[in-house]
Symmetry: C2
Subunit: 402 residues, 2 copies
């Protein structure tokens, strides 16, 4: 069996953690599997390098930033290789360009164009464990690029797709994907399986076990993922196209996102294109607007409200104020004291009444729903931040603890 | 003018040092020169990486060690690039493989096979300052290799040769090459020029401003070197084939090497091949033996003495004792309490009487010469370590301070 494994920065943070991961790799290798292992930079390496850069240049070019940051993963694979060598196992470490991970030229947020598998295959045929530096590739100029946040997951999925791996295991510091945040909801259950779409909705709702990009790529290439812990030996959660539980379980998980803010553009002139101009301002500022609501304003005007990521709220506000005359509105207000609670489940598609149960839970808890957004497999509600944990627990009880 | 500059690890050890070096590079660039700059890893980076490796594997493979260590220089060039960007200068950093420094497969001590200049030329044509990671290359397997001690100097010389550079400047933490160690001999003078051969002799005698390998390469390709300080703006010392002073100055420099030990193999059987067997044992152990003397032993036997690097003395002794029966000797003694004082000068070739002046200096100081070795441009004497500084000062006075 060909297995691609990925271990994040906290899993290789120091010598003891490296030895622990080496044990997991060795165990699988000695069972006779072909092993390709993607590693991130050790613990704080990336932050330390960014600090060094900031001392010299507040705004360095992304090309040189990628040149600098790519060294972190290279160090990880070399150190892991040495650890496996000490265990007497055949191993070889390869950087992004050695593997042939070719990307576009979008430094710091590069997209993988293709993965050459020749060298990987050659090393696997020699019965070697192959360690690959995650997060990095090279572009057509033979310059180093990095893949942005969650880049090592993307590397693992791309390699699994290119090699037609039998398994793609993403090791993290949690044991899998849960029905709700287990630190907050005592009855939260680890899911055995979850669909790509459910995972995408949960990830974008703040349950960031996997970055959306790697899940999207896994879905596109049909790579079945497994999310599991590098510290606790237990089965994790499988992420796949169709799950056995889709019919049985009406919903899969409940997530809370506190990194949200609501912008209200008050008294927008009621003429054609006003809403477009507001949302276009967001697009130009690179801000994602979500859950857009338009309500009647005082007279001949509308209030347009929407939700943005909290750390983009200031930028969003500025973009609107810059265009106040062009758009035509009275003022902008920002409410950061909100949370978005989302209920996700592919089972919703074939099951009616889910929304009713969710709304009933809010009602019973006397929680006021400020905004609602639904998709085929998700219901999101914006409520005040203080009630969020209570809301998640109440919904969780109704679906999972009866 | 195309200038190749090289800055060592202490010259780029922190943000302030990097800014200082960036100033030197910028100054030359703004004078209109084409700049190719080779950098070493920052200060203690290499040692820190070796420590991390040692935690995981006492004897890691050289391939993985090279993979690990190559990151140090890559970080240096990225950080320097950011600093030059902050000054508004066009710059690009390139690792060994990006430049196309192809080496043999001798990991950790690789030899440069060839340097591809296409990318370098292309970047220079774009009027960019090109920063190159020193000490590293790639072999025919596209694996990272490192060039061993003094590797960054070698990179600089190789690039200067390949690009037919007009100047090759090696910046260090000394101001140039001196007639003697200026910390020990107050009258020591900085040399304006020195020949390759003189430099080679001085370097191997412990005055390690430049590693022999880079000087040999410079001599072979006729690359004129300049050794100068990154902290003090002053002309340094030029290293070249023929110097103006060759005829005038009888000697160029006086060096002291305390990293030496004398081995005496006592009562070697006086039969053909005995000396060969002794020296062959050294060759097999990878120990360089120097200044070999054979003297009559007690009866029908000889005492064979020679000098080795002090840190190889134990290994040399073991190698002899392992072969005691085959060689046939009584015992081995090691004297670590010695120093080698060497007088170097291409002028010796055309001038007789140098040796006499040297010996007279020792005699006047009542220093006993234990061993003598001479070459066309060098006289080396082994004396007791305690007298070495006094000897150097006495010889220096006779040649330079009259």
């Amino acid at each position: 069996m060909l297995i691609v494994q990925k271990f994040g920065g906290s899993s290789v943070a120091d010598a003891d953690r490296i030895r622990n991961v080496a044990g997991i790799i060795a165990e699988n290798y000695l069972l006779g599997h072909e092993m390709v292992v993607v590693l991130s930079a050790q613990g704080d390496t990336t932050d330390e390098l960014l600090e060094k850069a900031a001392e010299l240049n507040a705004d360095p070019s992304k090309r040189e930033l990628d040149m600098l940051l790519a060294t972190g993963e290279q160090q990880s694979i070399a150190l892991m290789a040495m650890c496996l060598e000490a265990m007497g196992l055949p191993v070889v470490s390869l950087t992004g360009w050695q593997v042939g991970i070719r990307t576009n030229a979008d430094y710091s947020a590069a997209r993988i164009r293709r993965v050459e598998t020749e060298r990987l295959r050659r090393e696997l045929d020699k019965k070697r464990i192959v360690l690959v530096a995650g997060f990095q590739g090279v572009n057509k100029f033979d310059d180093y690029t990095t893949l942005g946040r969650g880049g090592s997951d993307t590397t693992a999925v791309a390699l699994a797709a290119a090699l037609h791996a039998d398994r793609c295991q993403i090791f993290t510091d949690v044991e899998g994907v849960y029905t709700a945040d287990p630190r907050k909801v005592p009855g939260a259950r680890k899911l055995e399986e979850i669909t790509y779409d459910e995972m995408l909705e949960l990830a974008s709702m703040g349950a960031q076990v996997l970055m959306n990009r790697s899940v999207q790529m896994a879905k596109r290439y049909g790579v079945e993922l497994e999310v599991l812990s590098s510290l606790v030996r237990a089965p994790g959660t499988k992420v796949k196209e169709v799950t056995r539980s889709m019919e049985e379980m009406k919903i899969t998980g409940i997530a809370k996102d506190e990194n949200v803010a609501r912008l209200t553009v008050a008294d927008v002139a009621d003429r054609p294109g006003s809403a477009f101009r507001v949302l276009n301002a967001m697009a130009q500022a690179g801000v994602n607007a979500d859950m857009i609501i338009q309500a009647n304003g005082r007279e001949q005007t509308n209030d347009i409200s929407f939700v943005v990521a909290e750390d983009q709220a200031a930028k969003a506000r500025e973009a609107l104020i810059e265009r106040q005359k062009a758009i035509g509105f009275d003022h902008v207000s920002v409410d950061r004291d909100i949370a978005k609670v989302s209920v996700v489940g592919a089972g919703m598609m074939s099951s009616s009444g889910i929304a009713a149960v969710v709304f009933e839970a809010f009602s019973d808890e006397h929680i006021n729903i400020q905004m609602i957004n639904t998709s085929e497999i998700k219901i999101s509600c914006v409520i005040d931040a203080a009630s969020a944990d209570r809301a998640v627990a109440a919904i969780h009880r109704r679906f999972f603890e009866t």
